[in-house]
């Protein structure tokens, strides 16, 4: 297990390198000149040139890229082109917002997805199964940000049960944090809940027809015990894959919901950085995303091992 973790983490290094090269190349190819923006509204040509020089924009591309990479290896992702804000500070301020949102949504995905999946998969063809299947179809069709807007209108503005947005730090007030996150996290989780429900329903239905399940039943075990103790663990493997993929989807989907609900998370930071061509920030966000995705994939692989001893043996 330890070996697996180390190997996987080492593999991310060349990956990060390639990704950083792509990001740098894209940022340089896309036209736009931060110096003109920084110089401000009554800019003079002289001032623009002065800023270009300060930013090192006049250096050859390879020198600029070298500076960036050197920073990454020394743990210093640099400073925003536009302010004294350290890239690491910008990300660590924005990341808790996005992680809170995506984390709570993930909790909903697992909680609701597994519950609904069990409900539908354990009794295929039942009323509950049919209702959930229809709801799942609706859930797949509704984009998260749209659901978010509808939730704001209904529960925020008309009924007044929930705030319409604005993030509250967990350290300030944990209950209020949850209260402010509830609507966006629910909207964000919807697609994942549906996905997990459908996967679990399908794989549980297959598993339930396996011989060993029949044997367990024949032994006289209760239905609940058969499902929870015997069937679920085997049926869970494809579901874990789906949940792993959901982590990435939730992080991406959080961007749109952050905007709808007025949260200043990584999404808002990323968009601002891209519009401004703030290369150090873009680079930082991409590297962080690659890292988060790698870690989540690693966790999924470790979960396989736990669920299926055959994987561990390999």
């Amino acid at each position: 297990m330890g070996k697996l973790i180390v190997r996987r983490l080492l593999l991310t290094i060349p990956l990060l390198f390639v990704v950083s090269l792509i990001v740098f190349g894209l940022a340089k190819l896309v036209p736009g000149d931060p110096a003109v923006t920084i110089a401000g509204e009554n800019a003079t040509i002289e001032r623009i040139e002065q800023i270009r020089e300060r930013l090192g924009e006049n250096d050859p591309a390879i020198v600029q890229y070298g500076r960036l990479i050197k920073g990454v290896f020394t743990g210093d992702l640099g400073t925003s082109l536009y302010s004294e804000q350290k890239v690491t500070d910008a990300i660590t301020t924005a990341l808790p917002v996005t992680l809170s949102l995506a984390g709570l949504a993930l909790l909903f995905v697992v909680l609701f997805g597994v519950s609904f999946g069990l409900l539908a998969g354990s009794r295929p063809g039942s009323l509950a199964d049919r209702v959930l299947t229809v709801l799942a179809a609706l859930g797949v069709a509704a984009p998260g940000y749209w659901v978010g807007i509808i939730l704001i209108i209904v529960f925020g503005l008309n009924l007044g049960w929930f705030p319409t947005g604005l993030y509250v730090k967990i350290t300030e007030d944990p209950l209020n944090w949850l209260y402010h996150l509830a609507l966006p996290a629910f909207a964000l989780s919807l697609a994942g809940v549906v996905e997990v429900t459908r996967q679990l329903r399908g794989s549980l239905r297959d598993t339930m027809q396996q011989d060993y399940v029949r044997t367990a039943r024949a032994k006289g075990l209760s239905g609940r015990l058969v499902i929870l103790k015997h069937a679920l663990k085997n049926a869970a493997i494809p579901v874990v894959t789906v949940i792993g993929l959901q982590v990435n989807a939730l992080l991406g989907g959080a961007i749109a919901l952050e905007l709808v609900f007025g949260f200043s998370g990584v999404g808002a930071l990323a968009i601002r950085a891209v519009v401004n061509r703030d290369l150090p920030i873009i680079q930082g966000i991409v590297l962080m995303s690659v890292f988060v995705v790698t870690i989540s994939n690693l966790l999924v692989d470790l979960a396989y091992g736990w669920l299926n001893p055959k994987v561990r043996a390999q």
């Binding site: 036209p31 736009g32 000149d33 003109v36 923006t37 920084i38 110089a39 401000g40 509204e41 009554n42 800019a43 003079t44 040509i45 002289e46 001032r47 623009i48 536009y82 302010s83 004294e84 804000q85 910008a90 301020t93 940000y145 807007i149 704001i152 925020g156 503005l157 007044g160 705030p163 319409t164 947005g165 604005l166 961007i255 749109a256 905007l259 709808v260 609900f261 007025g262 200043s264 999404g267 808002a268 930071l269 968009i271 601002r272 519009v275 401004n276 061509r277």
Partner: protein
């Protein structure tokens, strides 16, 4: 949503990049109006001239001096370091924490701030400010002549290089006197110093490199409120500054500013009671006017939409051709189409109600007469279906406006080939590379009208690509830059304006409107012609 944020940030960039002072209109609208559009509860009276005190507030209901004012704006300051502030979007949030020598009143005229009065020498080569006694920065440092000198010299070497160019040296004969020695006419300086170039930070905050870096993320000003918490692009929390010189300006005990880029997120937060005041987009004004419990303050601003011509390109150097182009747009229709009826059609650079506005320039000087325009173009030798490479920032508002202008101009035989460009690229393309024949975009009002005239109509500034001008305009703009009392300067600006309209230098189309929505409790807030509201005396009633 995502697109709307991009649009918003983009809009701010166009504005920054174009050297505009405004919010562009799609998402923008920190724009406000002439003083006649006033909130019902109270009014902030500010008197023009260099003797009036800046804020006296008379509210119908008493203001709750313990209240927290919650305001949301679409962007926060680009920097807290005055020498690095680069956008005029900075000021509505920054002026809570920073003060300046000179203030603007709601009619966009210079009035005393930290300086009690100012005076030009007889030859116009020096401008002397007399400071208020006992003013302090938030760190306790006295705001004296030396502090002002250090700030102005620093700002002049930084982001305000262009605006403060007339300043040669600065003398400080005594702690309350600052004498600016000028190397070029500085009539616009009092106005200029009301804005970012005049922002004063404690000299200790830029005493060394480490302090200067910290200043970028935490202001040490002398403003009404002191920042207690700042999260870049997210949140600014401020508390009343106990030693502030004008207590009447401090309507609230605490201020919370949330930076929310998305129009709907701001609107929802106000509707659900999480905020007290927000800025509105023109498309939201009608909706908010109908909501009970909320009030809208709406008005005309200095920000304008124009078709800017690179007059060094073929045919555009001919006056008759430019006049014909001016007759090929239906300005009133554009206001309806692109601005939801808010704002005002105009064919001069300054709006009605502003001291630079010239009554003698008739809105009918260039009536919409496409047939006549077509004839004039033909007479000038312009080919039929004349193609013009038209740069447009790639944002919904500008694209809508540009498409409408294109349709109107087609009737006069002008074929605008629209080239949507990334908003950030607008200035590099049209101003720096001088690519494109015309630009359809916003141009923001400057703190002083002479600044606008200088940038657009003299040879040299990058905002006049091609550098075309006329000797007469150069002479009139120079006069507008000369010091004088308000009346003399107004006359000089208006004279330059008239010549610019007669020469049809560009095609001015309309002045934008801007609006704010607030709870009924908000008191002391009025519309600001400058387009940048200040919150002097603004608070919440009990």
């Amino acid at each position: 949503m995502r697109r709307s944020l991009v649009a918003l940030v983009g809009a701010s960039l166009v504005v920054a990049a174009c050297g505009d002072d405004s919010k562009s209109s799609e998402q923008t609208t920190a724009v406000t109006k002439v003083a006649q559009e006033v909130t019902t509860l109270a009014s902030t009276t500010t008197v023009a001239g260099s003797t009036a005190a800046p804020s006296t507030t008379a509210a119908a209901k008493p203001i709750d001096t313990n209240a927290t004012l919650r305001f949301s704006y679409q962007v926060g300051p680009t920097s807290w370091d005055p020498a690095r502030m680069s956008s005029s979007f900075d000021t509505p949030t920054a002026f809570f924490a920073y003060d300046r020598l000179v203030h603007l009143n709601t009619g966009a005229e210079a009035i005393p701030g930290i300086a009690e009065k100012w005076e030009f020498s007889a030859d116009g080569k020096a401008l002397t400010f007399t400071l208020r006694k006992g003013v302090k920065f938030h760190d306790g440092t006295p705001l004296d002549a030396e502090a002002v000198k250090a700030n102005l010299l620093r700002n002049a070497a930084g982001a305000s290089k262009g605006e403060l160019a007339p300043i040669d040296t600065i003398d400080t004969p005594d702690p309350l006197t600052v004498k600016l020695n000028l190397k070029s006419p500085g009539g616009s300086l009092p106005g200029v110093l009301t804005d970012r170039p005049g922002v004063l930070a404690s000299p200790k905050s830029f005493a060394d490199e480490a302090a200067t870096k910290a200043l970028d993320l935490m202001p040490v000003g002398a403003g009404m409120y002191k920042v207690t918490e700042f999260v870049k692009d997210q949140k600014i929390v401020l508390e009343r500054f106990a030693d502030y010189w004008d207590k009447a300006a401090q309507g609230a005990a605490k201020v919370e500013i949330l930076v929310l880029a998305d129009n709907n997120a701001r609107a929802n937060a106000l509707k659900s009671g999480q905020l007290d005041i927000i800025n509105l987009d023109a498309s939201q004004i009608d909706e908010f006017k109908k909501i009970s419990g909320l009030k809208v303050t709406e008005g005309l601003s200095l920000n304008l939409m124009h078709v800017q011509l690179n007059r060094s390109k073929p045919f555009l150097d001919k006056k008759e051709v430019r006049q014909a182009m001016n007759m090929a747009v239906d300005r009133a229709a554009l206001v309806k189409l692109a601005n939801y009826g808010y704002g005002a059609p105009n064919n001069q650079y300054f709006p009605k109600g502003y001291f630079g506005y010239n009554e003698a320039i008739s809105i009918d000087q260039y009536k919409y007469e496409p047939a006549k325009a077509k004839e004039m173009l033909k007479a000038a030798g312009v080919p039929d279906n004349w193609e013009l490479d038209t740069v447009v920032p790639n944002l919904n508002y500008y694209l809508t406006l540009a498409q409408a202008v294109k349709d109107q101009m087609a009737a006069a035989g002008i074929n605008l080939k629209l080239r949507p460009v990334d908003p950030v690229q607008t200035a590099p393309i049209f101003y720096v590379q001088q690519s494109g024949d015309v630009l359809i975009s916003v141009f923001g009002g400057r703190a002083d009208p002479a600044q606008l005239l200088n940038s657009l109509f003299t040879k040299g500034p990058i905002q006049n690509p091609g550098g075309h001008t006329t000797p007469k305009i150069v002479e009139l703009v120079a006069k507008a830059n000369e010091p004088g009392d308000q009346k003399t300067r107004a006359a000089a600006v208006q004279a330059a304006s008239k010549e610019i309209a007669d020469e049809a230098m560009n095609v001015v189309m309309l002045h934008s409107s801007g609006a704010f929505a607030a709870t009924e409790k908000l008191a002391g807030f009025t519309a600001w012609l400058g387009g940048k509201p200040e919150f002097r005396g603004v608070g919440l009633t009990k």
